[in-house]
Amino acid sequence: MKNDTLHLAGVYTKTVMKSWFQYKVDAVLRSLAVFLREATGIIVIYFTLLKFDTLNGWNIYEMLFLFSLLFVTYGILIIFFTGLRDFGGTVRSGNFDRFILRPRGLLFQLIFCNADWFAAIGHGGLGIVLFVISAGKVGVVWNAATIVYYLLAIVGGVLIQGAIFLFLATLNIYLLETNSLKELFYWNMRKFAGYPISIFHKSIQVIMIYVVPFAFVNYFPAQYLLRKSDMAQYPDIFMYLTPLVGGGMYLLAYAFWRFSIRYYKSSGN
């Protein structure tokens, strides 16, 4: 049974990849476009810091490192959570009914039935490029402990964003249309996440730490490794919480999903 599940996941992934890369030139161009679109903010901060040197004590390499965490986690996230990101459309078109009829877990199908490979390559590729450029220049000693910490932070960061996607996807069961909420709570907050949150107004910081905790995706993990002086205004414990926040949020979102799925009503034809 276990093997069978893995096999099925493999088959799904292969099919999805085939469908995304059907038109090869287009696929390359699309990945490049996503890469460049996401790099916009980085090009901007690069030019800005040529002039200003540091942003609240963060130099260009430290900024790139901060950005890289955001992109690497999104690149991994989107391989698994595209189905949840686009769940609203699946519900509205009635396609979700087909998933329910199949003898496999719903979440399993949603996760493996689609993966936005252009976003994965665009974001993930950019994240890796930024990491390679910055990792050697930010004064981090890469030993077993920091590498394990880094990997755990990545997993935590993926889970935090995955939990937000899962939570918003679940809301579709009740509301049918949640794109605007996603825009408000995910994409808008993510715009702040590329920068050290300490530069923003207190209210933004509170949202980034306690409501949509992007601060735990990149700011606090980066702080653990870089120890910039603006960390002084937050409790030290925040630097260690990312995996816990990720795991906790994901479990909560999963419980909400399990609870809500019983109330699913089809949108009709």
Binding site: Y23, D26, R30, L36, A39, T40, K51, K191, I199
Partner: protein
Amino acid sequence: MLTPYLAFAKKSFLNRSAYRFNHFMGILNTILRIFIFWGIYKALYGDRSEVDGITMTMVTTNFILSICLEAVFCVNDFYLPDRINSGSIANELLLPISFPGRMLADNLGNAVFKLIYHFVPALIVSVLIMGIQAPAGIPMLLLFILSALLGYGVLWTISFAVQMCSFWLINVWSIVTIKNVFVNVLSGSMIPLWFMPDWMSGVLELLPFSSIYFTPVQIYLGQLSYGEIAVKCAIQVVWIGVIYLIGTLLWEKGKRKLVVQGG
């Protein structure tokens, strides 16, 4: 003569008013964008009152004006591609009106809507939160408006020319996205162009992007003399002419080879 175009513009104006919540989100988005850049530059400036003769208020003004204008200048990059993909272009070509003219009418109707219901509220909220520098006199304010209109022309013709690629490519999303990256980075709405490194200034002068938002902002702030304003606006007009010509050539060529699948 203009009546059908006005009707199209009015239709697109009314279309916009249908999505209230999305519209509200759009305004919030604009304000947040300005707020983020403002936060970044406040941190960058720290205690300094000016950098290279540019005060923080001027930076704030640059962001508020160019990002609010950006909301008005939202050109539908997929107007033609959508019609080619769905095949409805065939019917549009039968209408006794110019298709590019219709495209412009549709975009302008949208722009007027955005000016009233997006630009104005976003501007007011931003100014209340962050403050803004007053325009350098009434003549400069009027010239700012003129130059902003020309800036819209530059942005529109760029989009017009890029959309023509859809005659030859199945999917223009990538090209449109890459075009928008250039517009975003080089037009001054994300980096005030005063702070670009020197070698970039040369590049910027060879490209049309800085005349979209940055020229109007410079005029508003009173940084240009009347002579310089005349030159900058002439440059805007030349760009509009050149890019429109390229777009029209592609349009004439593309129209001839257009093949619509199905029916």
